[in-house]
Symmetry: none
Subunit: 201 residues, 4 copies
Amino acid sequence: MTTAAPTERALARRQQVLDAASDAFRRRGFHAASMAEIAKLAGMSPGHIYNLFENKDEIIAAIVERDCEDVVQRIGELQQEVDVLQAMLRETDKAIDEHSQVADAALELEVLAEASRNPRLAAVMHASQALVHAKALGLIRQTLGPAAAELPDGEIEGRALLLAALFNGLTALSVRLPDQHKRIPVMAPVMRRLLQVLLAP
Amino acid sequence: MTTAAPTERALARRQQVLDAASDAFRRRGFHAASMAEIAKLAGMSPGHIYNLFENKDEIIAAIVERDCEDVVQRIGELQQEVDVLQAMLRETDKAIDEHSQVADAALELEVLAEASRNPRLAAVMHASQALVHAKALGLIRQTLGPAAAELPDGEIEGRALLLAALFNGLTALSVRLPDQHKRIPVMAPVMRRLLQVLLAP
Amino acid sequence: MTTAAPTERALARRQQVLDAASDAFRRRGFHAASMAEIAKLAGMSPGHIYNLFENKDEIIAAIVERDCEDVVQRIGELQQEVDVLQAMLRETDKAIDEHSQVADAALELEVLAEASRNPRLAAVMHASQALVHAKALGLIRQTLGPAAAELPDGEIEGRALLLAALFNGLTALSVRLPDQHKRIPVMAPVMRRLLQVLLAP
Amino acid sequence: MTTAAPTERALARRQQVLDAASDAFRRRGFHAASMAEIAKLAGMSPGHIYNLFENKDEIIAAIVERDCEDVVQRIGELQQEVDVLQAMLRETDKAIDEHSQVADAALELEVLAEASRNPRLAAVMHASQALVHAKALGLIRQTLGPAAAELPDGEIEGRALLLAALFNGLTALSVRLPDQHKRIPVMAPVMRRLLQVLLAP
DNA sequence: GATGAATGAGCCTTCATTCAT
DNA sequence: AATGAATGAAGGCTCATTCAT
């Protein structure tokens, strides 16, 4: 039996744990971060974490869900723009920069690595990512406007996937090469051209 | 004392360990694969591995180096083509497929995650990746032909980086969404257009 | 402060706990049954159990006492029979069967094991068992009738002890060998002869 | 994979662990005895125990097997006697005494309790006990001599079972009542009569 | 070079018990 | 009387690493 109907307090406590765990995983990795460490960061006893989460796996699963919700919301905000493509081209530098933070990369890659092996986490990841993907499809359709209807089947999906790949790749690259943020000026112009291929009619 | 002047036999033994470890890491993950397991796969005792490698971390560092050499060689082979761009467009499906193997993704992401916080591994990774990057620059220059000289400074580097990001992103995506190989047909046409942006004059 | 002057309500609540604990212990064992589980079965909070019982040990002590009272009562009922020996011979099969329930055996053996090293529980056990023993002496005397007076000192006590041993042994045996109930037909005739030795003049 | 082919040294180390564990279980119970404690008693590190035994359960299983082998051997020795029944009647006091040691009872009951809940252990117990039972059948047949052939089917089995129950019951009783050894004089004569019922033609 | 027995620190998790409310 | 959130000690087990042989 899992937490049947989490009280408001329990919900807040869960957030504390998720914040603490995000921090710990980011700094030390999923396996190296101990529950004791997370508990200390969260300001509670190790034992109590198990009143809030089934086990360590469930914590990372919850982090994945929370992070995906963030991404969905970010895309939603982007959709508020009158001209999405223009907005993206304008903010390309910032977008690259945000995807080049090694500290964030650490957690993201850790989660992906774990998900590639842990079925429970993979399930959560797939479900969450499906939402992100759907939202991305919507974004691209909106950007294309009426032209979207004329495109062959799958074209939009292909664009959405490669758009996602591009930004995910930046995260990986930020670990592969040092000081990626210094390379933003050389990447940005090329990136803009790629974005146009992916988002313009 | 460090491993001083490795004999030829020692070198061969090291390869055995690297093969075994690659296999074990790929199947079970870096942390889950035990030295005992690697030793068994490598056909030697756990203790003896420590005569060949300082510790577990050094094994993965060596794997990273070896894998990067592979990538460099692959690029070299590609450069043998008379028309590199045509070759890549022709083999796009295969290339996407190769970067969509979840099993390989597992190890790659794990290594990246590990490198994002292990300075020793980060150093190896950066050195190796620098070689890959240099080789990629050469590939793009060759593809561009004489047109390369006319491009603004950094343009080629930007292309090389985003090319790398694109393929790295596919790896990440293969974990984020299930059955990525089923999506190759929708991704390939879009990918070809992106490759043209990155490789055509 | 100990539980001073238990109210009537408290007494009823204690019974709820004892019922719940008996159930939980029987199904999962003394150590495996958690206070949380018992609390849930008893329909109260874990914390409240500690208003009714000093600790987990006291619960099992109370169960032992209650169970011994049951045995005493059972013997009492047997004494109502006009011919006790005949009644026992008639119901031998049923008696063996009742002492061959592995589920009951589990709790009984667990309690004995626990009592063999927990002095507090040993004390309760000895006190309760003394009552059972006394009652058993009475039963045997009644069965023997006037002949009882002629028997040497200790003869009756010896019979009572071995009678108890015999049934206790069935409980142990039901764990040692599987499907003891299938063996009732072969045990019953022999058992009847033993009972006659123990209960006939 | 389990210990494939235990070396002689490993076998000796296993015995050390079994001795230590027997001691620890006897004194503190199966659940309360920690692996650390056993390791210390056995003179090795906790980790190394896991090179010799799969887990804690396997230790108790091995103890059960070893103890049953002892019982089988004891019965075998008894069979060397020219007149088994006479030998048993002669040594009744000693036999009762041996089955009345609370210290031994502790381990035995603990094991039984555990087996009643743990299927793995139950399997080992049933297998071992089957050997004991078979040996007991042989003993009784030998004692009966030619008369054995004339007895109805199952008669001998019934005797063997109740013989086992009787001694097992003494063990249980030694916990239920204090100072059982003081009661040997009153039990012995009655016990002799029971033994005659069980073993004489 | 090579073995594998041995170590021991450290991990996740459980649970009896307490206490503020 | 009653709750249930919270504690924290302890336990079984794993595994990188060492070292006597």
